[in-house]
């Protein structure tokens, strides 16, 4: 009996020992959940080449439409006006316009050395990364490690890579503290540097925290900044990329205990996700060419052209009212023109005839000849400040906004061209390029002398605005 008992005990002990030694318990790392790497922009970088006939001294850039090595950007689809691109390795240029899929223009001419055939063209897209996930375990006082894909070589030279994000020298890594997780400033290490060699071809970011941790806590980690400073450079198109399809990369997140050594120790929890980049969508719209012309009233007692208006005008009339002998009287209207016609516009003016009183004995208020007695309907005009002995009707101009060319300029008066006298309308306001709300005051001046027949006088002035062809 004793032997049986002893044998049974030995057997049981053996079984227990075997179970312990040869059937070790496995503990599996749990998965972090709801993992996302949200980029502030999914726009990919540009890595292309200058092509002949680009030349120094010109702002017109031609690009290669075939790939070569890391120069995988073969279309201007990834560029837009306003982008800052590096051409030739040193200088930066701002894109002025996209001509077509293989040409664009820049705002300053290419410098010598930047227009050689094959010179690199880089646009650096620098999106901030916002890594979010939910924890699977409560790891007390540990840290999260984020791995962002990097190229196998030259992954920290600020030049866009085609198989990962470039480290761009310095990266800001921060995290938002939440209950049970109080973060300190993150540590960023470029791929291949000590502490970031395993796994290979990833940049490493560590976010250490204090606190007990929690299960299911929402964590938010930031790599880079919204302004693009201290931020990784997004990849350029990959070598095997299909146009208009995104390039997707895998990022990883690990939750380690405090003294763990990434690359050697096992993580408590981990997870992986995808982050994608694609060309930006260039939205284009067609704006029809047009011209807009506006005439506005100016009230009395308004300072225009260095004069103070005597009466209130409407858009359809300049009612001088009752005139005093040998006294100047003023009125104004405001003319505004806008056009997107490339050749600009011209506004002309003409009167049907002199201010007339078509009573039984027609009489007229003469058109001005200014103080000099020589100003006419063309030319620069001249001064007219004296009413006595200088009766007449005329006008001057003053710029309100924009930079139109006006004739006459403020202080110089001239009369209107007259249809009755077979005179051609004269240009009063012009611009030789597109114009946005260019405005002038037309300031009318009138005076009569004692010989002027009493009565009501009127005429009509026609302003015509046309776009130059």
């Amino acid at each position: 009996m004793n032997r049986v008992r002893i044998l049974g005990i030995i057997t049981a002990a053996s079984l227990i020992g075997i179970n312990l030694f040869f059937r070790p318990s496995f503990s599996f790392a749990a998965n972090l959940t709801s993992m996302r790497d949200t980029l502030s922009t999914s726009r990919m970088s540009f890595s292309g080449r200058v092509k002949t006939p680009s030349i120094a001294g010109s702002g017109h850039v031609y690009i290669y439409t075939a790939t070569s090595g890391n120069f995988t950007s073969i279309s201007t689809d990834g560029l837009k006006p306003g982008d800052s691109v590096q051409i030739g390795g040193t200088n930066f240029y701002t894109i002025a316009s996209i001509v077509n899929s293989s040409e664009f223009t820049v705002t300053t001419n290419l410098a010598v050395g930047d227009a050689d055939d094959g010179d690199a063209i880089y646009f650096r897209s620098k999106p901030a990364h916002i890594i979010t996930f939910n924890t699977a375990s409560a790891v007390n006082g540990g840290f999260f490690q984020v791995l962002i894909p990097a190229a196998s070589s030259n992954s920290n030279d600020t030049v866009p890579d085609i198989s990962g994000f470039d480290f761009n020298t310095t990266i800001t890594a921060t995290a938002t503290s939440v209950p049970n997780y109080t973060f300190i400033t993150g540590v960023a290490t470029a791929s291949g540097v000590s502490g970031c060699t395993s796994p290979a071809n990833f940049h490493c970011f560590e976010f250490h925290y204090t606190g007990p941790g929690a299960i299911g806590a929402g964590i938010q980690l930031f790599i880079g900044t919204s302004a693009g400073t201290n931020t990784p450079v997004a990849p350029a198109p990959s070598a095997a990329r299909i146009a208009s399809q995104a390039d997707a990369y895998t990022f990883k997140v690990y939750n380690f205990t405090n003294n763990a050594q990434p690359g050697v120790s096992s993580s408590t929890d981990d997870g992986a996700g995808k982050v994608a980049v694609i060309e930006s969508v260039r939205v284009s719209a067609t704006v029809d060419p047009s011209i807009t012309f506006k005439i506005e009233a100016v009230p009395s007692s308004t300072s225009t052209c260095g004069l103070t208006t005597s009466v209130t005008t409407t858009s359809a009339a300049v009612p001088f009212g009752v005139l005093s002998i040998d006294t100047l009287r003023w009125a104004s209207q405001k003319i505004t023109v806008s056009t997107n016609a490339v050749s600009g516009y011209t506004v002309t003016a003409v009167e049907n005839e002199r201010l007339s009183n078509l009573a039984s004995s027609p009489s007229y208020i003469p058109n001005t000849t200014c103080d000099s007695g020589t100003c006419t309907y063309t030319g620069a005009g001249s001064g007219w400040v004296t009413a006595a002995a200088h009766p007449g009707f005329g006008y001057t101009l003053a710029i309100v906004s924009g930079t139109p060319t006006i004739t006459p300029t403020v202080g110089n008066f001239r009369r209107f061209a007259s249809i009755t006298a077979n005179e051609q309308p004269t240009a009063i306001m012009t611009n030789a390029a597109i114009a946005s709300a260019q405005a002038v005051y037309v300031c009318y001046q009138i005076s009569v002398d004692a010989t002027q027949t009493a009565g009501e006088y009127e005429n009509q002035v026609t302003y015509t605005a046309t776009a130059n062809f």
């Binding site: 030349i55 120094a56 001294g57 010109s58 001419n109 029809d288 060419p289 047009s290 011209i291 807009t292 012309f293 506006k294 005439i295 506005e296 009233a297 009466v311 409407t314 858009s315 359809a316 009339a317 300049v318 009612p319 001088f320 009212g321 009752v322 009125a331 209207q333 056009t339 016609a341 490339v342 050749s343 600009g344 516009y345 011209t346 002309t348 009167e351 201010l355 249809i419 051609q424 309308p425 240009a427 012009t430 030789a432 390029a433 597109i434 009318y444 009501e456 006088y457 009127e458 005429n459 009509q460 002035v461 026609t462 302003y463 015509t464 605005a465 046309t466 776009a467 130059n468 062809f469």
Partner: protein, 327 residues
Amino acid sequence: MKYKQILIPILYIVLFGFFTATKVHAESYNLSVSPPLLRVHILPGKAITQVYTIGNSDIADQTLVASIVPFSQADDNGNPVLNPQTTAPWLGYFSLANSEIKLNEPFTIRAGATEQLVLSLTVPPDASLGEIYATLMISTYTNSIDQNLEGTALKATIGSNLLITISSEAYPDTVLKIIDFNPTEGSFLKIGNIYFADSITAMKFSALVSNEGKFTADTKGVFRVTKGTDNPVFLDGILPLNVISKSQRILVNTNGAPFEFTPTLSQIGNHQISLEIKTENSNATSTIEVFFFPLKLSLGLLLTIIIISLIVKTSGKSTIVPLDNNK
């Protein structure tokens, strides 16, 4: 009774308002037209239609009249010389296809609204080959005279230009010439046919193009600076402009500004500066020779040498008085 006491005053007020309401006048004329330019090639016997959008951005309705005004001349900026009294035998080619709007008849556009004018051009099969230049004028219209106005009445007109070529060829030949191509700003002097210019001062250039032919052309081309070889050292585009028959236009670059070239110290020597227009119906080229050298530097050095020479001469002329040992 109580209701009557309330209603009757209200009725009086309402009636008073109706019979004394003042006429609302537009605060401004605010018109727009699109497109501002129509450039057409058309065969005899063919017809085309163009839709114009007329806008009234004012707060009040506007009564307008549309008319076609021919022109044959334009200034150097491409502004037509318009005389509303002008007529032409081909005016009958134009009509409006609108059901309720006719040329030279008033129509109303409501406040803040737009109206489309469907302009139809029908060229008879036996029409003469050549050019038609006209402006579609949209003018304000009033059918009443303000008896109380003591002053000037105003009329506003907005126009859209039409440049029409009637031809059996797609690009009938014309004759373009570039004239008055000269530098206008910079440090330079002209000796014979060559300009001698400073090699670090920007130069601006002006030029006119003259169309001496019968058909409209446009000014597509480049402003080019070369030095001996065919490789240019500087390129700029010419703004494409329409040059109507028997007229001139001022040439400008694609930014609407005069042509400008800033040489560098390394660009010393004889350069060719040219304007080259190449279009489907005419080519024109004009070239000037400019010899760049460090003019200002040279003058500065020369001046310095002269001053130093004067100083040295002046210093050398001062005499040394010997000591009198007998004293």
